[in-house]
Each structure stands twice: as structure tokens, then as C-alpha cells.
Symmetry: C2
Subunit: 238 residues, 2 copies
């Protein structure tokens, strides 16, 4: 029970990026200082966004199998570096004996409220329809907006598809164009609320917008959870 | 049985690099085209090189627990992106119902024999003492050398320690100095026979030496194994 469980593959590059963040956030001078992690990268899970929008099959049974697998793998917490899948967060929690960290809660908690930002939420259409980012932001009294469906959101959609297909620079170009529109509409910050977006952001000018990286914040919450419990100290496998 | 099992954490950054290679080597236009992967990143395993050299505890019981875990996780093949651990390859294979790919075999098979290279093997002192690279190269009639213990090997050792401690540029600097010595000694190619070295190589001038990346070749062998068996097509979780 002293391992971080990562339910990944949604998508695979975002999972690699998340693991990289886990490693970088862990204070370590040698292998043995690091945290044990079990990753289930299961990319065949049905498209989360399409299902939320009512145009694709339900991924819930697959999501529950992944949660079940991690529960049997000696993990003490689960992180899911896929925002859209958090539409089914209550059902996954109910199915899990170990806590599941909520990516949007970790992400929104990282926004400095003092600066009174106007936050644009970049996410899949499914995640936006689900509304968990908007409700989390509203609960904290943070002013927010979503991209226009025809223009900004179309760019965000294409950016996500690009990264999932390994087209990193194409993804960066589309994201950069979405940043321009968000800035024109008065945004001062952008939540990168889809785990493909931070990968594209390496190739995009953020125009001074404050970027809040959902994947990074989930990684930070995961590492904190594990370090607080001493999982970096050799345990079963020492 | 249609998943790639990755036994990682030795070290953690090398595991992330290996997973990145798996994703990049898989022809995919969307999440669902990718390969399912289970990763056990267990960094607390005793230092492999120190054990081979007789100055550290035996990691074999821990290695066998990792192999056991992956065997119970529905994997059909196991890849271990840690060269030194292959000292215990026969014992791990004996303990595994599923095949384990051999990193040095995959790596040496990728050397173009036509070019008659003189290959320097960069690896931990433990892996060199174990001798599996040298015997693999000898079996294929490839001329090879290892760095001088006092100079070149000391640089390789420090490079590996640097990467394990997250010091990427320091690692690159030490690797670059080791490349200079290898070239002076007549090497035309270098086997990066420790999975930390390819990470350092991003920050080092290879001076025209042909670099053979053990981690990349293991990833290539893993993806080939999986694609041949159709694991990119939705299975249990479709």
C-alpha cells in the first residue's frame, strides 16, 4: 500500500509526461530515494469526451476495471492523468478502496486567488460539458470562461488530437492560436485542463498568460501524498 | 496477456525515457491505436552494480518479486530498462511464465556488422564485470573495448550518478568527456549500455561516434513483439 497508482493511457504521451513530473518533483539523489509507482497504461478505453457528449460508447466499465487492477497492485493512492475521465470520478471512488486524487481539485487549488485572475478553461468538449472545472472554480469564487465553441474550442480540440497522434509542433501551433483568442477575450490565466495540452504548450507562446498545468498539479498532489507517508523509504521491497 | 510489462525504477528517469520510446515507436493516430503497458517502477531495489561487484546486498529477491508482480498483471512479455539487472537474467527467466526480452541482445543485434565498427561499451562497472555485453559482441564477432577503469569508466560512472540524481547537464558533460577518450582509443561506435546514458547523450556531443541506445533497442523489440501479436487492437478492455 506504499505505491502511487497511475491509471494512464488516456493518452499514452500524457501518461509519460505525468510520470516524468512525478520523478522530477521527488527530491532524490539516487534511485532508492524515489517513489514506487505502478502504472496501468490502458489506451483502449473508449473516448471519454465522446461518451460524455452522447456520441460514443460508455468507458465506465473499462475505467472500473483499471481501478480494480490498481487496487490489487498494492497502491495506496490513485492518480488519473486524464481530465475527462473525472466525469466518472464518483463511480470510480465508490469502486476503490484507496483514495483517488481529483485532477481538477488539485489544479484549481493551485490558482493564486490573490491575483484575481480571469481563467480560461482549455479542456475537451466532454470535460466542459461535464462541468467539474466550472463548478470547482465557482466554488472558489474564481472568474472563468470557456473558449467559443466555433473558434477557440475548435483549436483546443485539434491541439489535443495532434498530441494524441504524436504531432507535437502542430499541437503547439493550434494551442498558440487558442491562447491568442483567450487573451483577446480578456483571460489572464489558462487552465490546461486536458493532459495533452501541457505537452503542446512546450511548442507555443503563452503570451504572458499564466498557465496552470492540471497534470503538474496532480503530480504535485501525488508526490506530496506519498512523501507525507514516507513511501520514498524502502518498504516491502527493501 | 496482451500487455507489455515494464519492470522499471532502475532508475526512474530511465523508465520514463523507455516509456516515451514505446509511445513514439508505436504507429498511432489516437489513444486507442496504442499498446497497453503495465509498469512496475520499483526504485528501492538494491544497487545492481554494487551487488555484482560484491560491495552491496543482493537484489535478486526483489527482482523476482517484480517479475512475479508483472506475471500476475496480465502481461505477455517483460522488458527491463536496466542493463545491470540482466546479470540475473537467467534467474528472472526461470521465475517468469512470460518471456523476458534481453536488453543486450536487442542492443547488439542493432549494430550494423557491415560497417565493422570498433565498439566501446559504456555501462556500469557491475554490468561490465558481469560481461554479458562482451560475450554478446564476441559471439557476433564485433570488435569491442571497455573504457579505462581510472579515466573513461570514472566519467561513465559519474554520468550515470548525475542522471539518477536529476543532474542532466552534468551527466552530459561527463559523457562528452568519455566520448573524447573513447574516440582517442579508436572507437567508432558506443553502446550506451546503461539506460541513464541515453538521457545524458541529449546534452553531449557524440563527435561522430555511432551511438547504439540499449533503451531504444529494447523499446523497439518490445513494440515489435506486441504489434506482431496485435496487442494494439482493443482486447479485454475494448
Amino acid at each position: 500500500m506504499s505505491r502511487i497508482g497511475v491509471f494512464g493511457g488516456m493518452g499514452p504521451s500524457a501518461t509519460v509526461d505525468f510520470m516524468d513530473k512525478l520523478v522530477r518533483l521527488t527530491p532524490a539523489g539516487r534511485d532508492q530515494d524515489h517513489l514506487p509507482v505502478i502504472v496501468a497504461s490502458l489506451p483502449h478505453i473508449h473516448d471519454r469526451s465522446r461518451s460524455i457528449l452522447g456520441v460514443g460508447p460508455d468507458p465506465l466499465p473499462q475505467l472500473l476495471l483499471g481501478i480494480e487492477f490498481l487496487n490489487k497492485s498494492g497502491v495506496g493512492v490513485i492518480a488519473i492523468p486524464c481530465n475527462s475521465s473525472h466525469h466518472w470520478y464518483p463511480q470510480m471512488c465508490e469502486h476503490s478502496a484507496v483514495p483517488i486524487l481529483h485532477i481538477a481539485q488539485a489544479c484549481v487549488a493551485a490558482i493564486p486567488q490573490a491575483s484575481a485572475p480571469k481563467v480560461a478553461v482549455f479542456a475537451t468538449r466532454g470535460a466542459l460539458a461535464s462541468g467539474f472545472y466550472q463548478s470547482e472554480l465557482a466554488a472558489r469564487g474564481i472568474e472563468h470562461m470557456v473558449p467559443d465553441a466555433e473558434t477557440g474550442q475548435a483549436l483546443v480540440d485539434q491541439c489535443i488530437r495532434d498530441i494524441k497522434a504524436g504531432q507535437l509542433e502542430g499541437g503547439g501551433k493550434n494551442l498558440a492560436a487558442a491562447f491568442v483568442l483567450a487573451k483577446e477575450q480578456g483571460a489572464t490565466a489558462v487552465i490546461m485542463g486536458c493532459t495533452e495540452i501541457p505537452i503542446a504548450a512546450r511548442y507555443a507562446d503563452s503570451l504572458g498568460l499564466e498557465l496552470v498545468d492540471s497534470s503538474l498539479e496532480l503530480a504535485r498532489a501525488s508526490v506530496e501524498f506519498a512523501l507525507e507517508r514516507g513511501w520514498n523509504r524502502p518498504g516491502w521491497d527493501s
